[in-house]
Assembly symmetry: C2
Homo-oligomer: 211 residues x 2
């Protein structure tokens, strides 16, 4: 089970490095979050790349159009994994997968807000998504959806892709997510916003350890 | 009928200014396209803002999560209009609309790849979308969908929002779009990639003129 730490609102390259330097032993993927892409573009990916050769960098572009072009730009900037949206047209997702193949990178498809996931997950898997992320939107966290039942259902539709979980996960509630045995757990403020990020990441990694 | 000119792949602030300076008399909205946001973040919006006080600047963020936060960042950078996706959760779109209200800005909702538009358009209108954009993805242009029939159907679901059309429009085919009487026509490479952008924009504006 891999730990992806997401850096979003209010971060910059310096604050990300300050945090990653303290928790890099616990984590696997650095996520350059969408708000940061909106603010700074791919410069953050370029700045982080040489500093953390042992960690994968994920660029959370949430691609919805121009699949090849947009994913290609992020891979060229140094990303290992780029996100696209399950809601995008198949042609867009195939373009993103093609860009990943060109660079030896990977595509994570974010299922956020998708209305018909059981059907869509099988399609995403068949199109070559490396990861499929079950993601509760920031704007609807706490609305009481049953993630666990969802996860069980989803597993039945996936043959190749790894499954990731995101949305409101933190050191306090992580056991209810690790128990679903995803391949990747994505945590943002639960670690980056903790008073002691190293302690939070350590707790998370310990609870992930059994899986 | 307003003309929005989209600046996408391969543009930077200098090349945008070179083009806008030649066509500003024909256009209404400058679109800072998604590929440019991915490359440079909001810096392009900040650089264009003081130079074109008489033109509206649209930041094509295609917001899918963090509606208030992401839209707010773009309005603070100087955007007049910010895009969000029809595929986003209602809470996300309402957050974006709230950020627009705070800044006196507007939200354009991009319906790209949405599978159930007749139902969704009415919801977008009721949530306060200022513009609803019927958008054929770059990755599926030329796939033969009947835009005109679509447009007629959509009009029946809208009470307040203005309608925009985007996706593969150029000086050669524009009359088939102006005949649908949208409120906004969005053109990218059909103008920015023309050998003479001023001539292309002039032709477009002339053909829009009757509407």
């Amino acid at each position: 089970m891999k730990l992806q730490v997401a850096f979003d609102c209010g971060c910059n390259t310096r604050t990300i490095c300050d945090c990653v330097d303290r928790i890099s032993g616990y984590m696997d993927f650095i996520e350059v979050g969408t708000p940061l892409i909106i603010e700074k573009g791919l410069s953050t990916v370029r700045e982080l790349r040489p500093r953390y050769p042992h960690l994968k960098i994920l660029a959370d572009l949430k691609i919805m159009d121009g699949g090849f072009y947009e994913a290609n730009a992020a891979f060229e900037a140094g990303a290992d994994i780029v996100t696209a949206l399950a809601a995008a047209e198949d042609a867009t997702l195939k373009g993103a997968v093609e860009a990943a193949a060109k660079h030896g990178g990977e595509i994570m498809v974010d299922t956020i807000a998708h209305p018909d996931l059981p059907r869509r997950i099988g399609e995403l898997d068949a199109m070559g998504a490396d990861y499929i992320c079950l993601h509760t939107a920031k704007d609807t966290q706490g609305s009481g959806r049953d993630f666990a039942a969802f996860m069980r259902e989803m597993r039945g539709f996936v043959r190749h892709a790894k499954l990731a979980l995101a949305g409101g996960i933190n050191p306090e509630n992580i056991e209810s997510y690790t128990s679903m045995a995803p391949d990747v757990i994505i945590i943002g403020e639960g670690i980056t916003g903790a008073s002691d990020p190293a302690k939070a990441a350590g707790i998370v990694r310990e609870k992930m350890g059994a899986h």
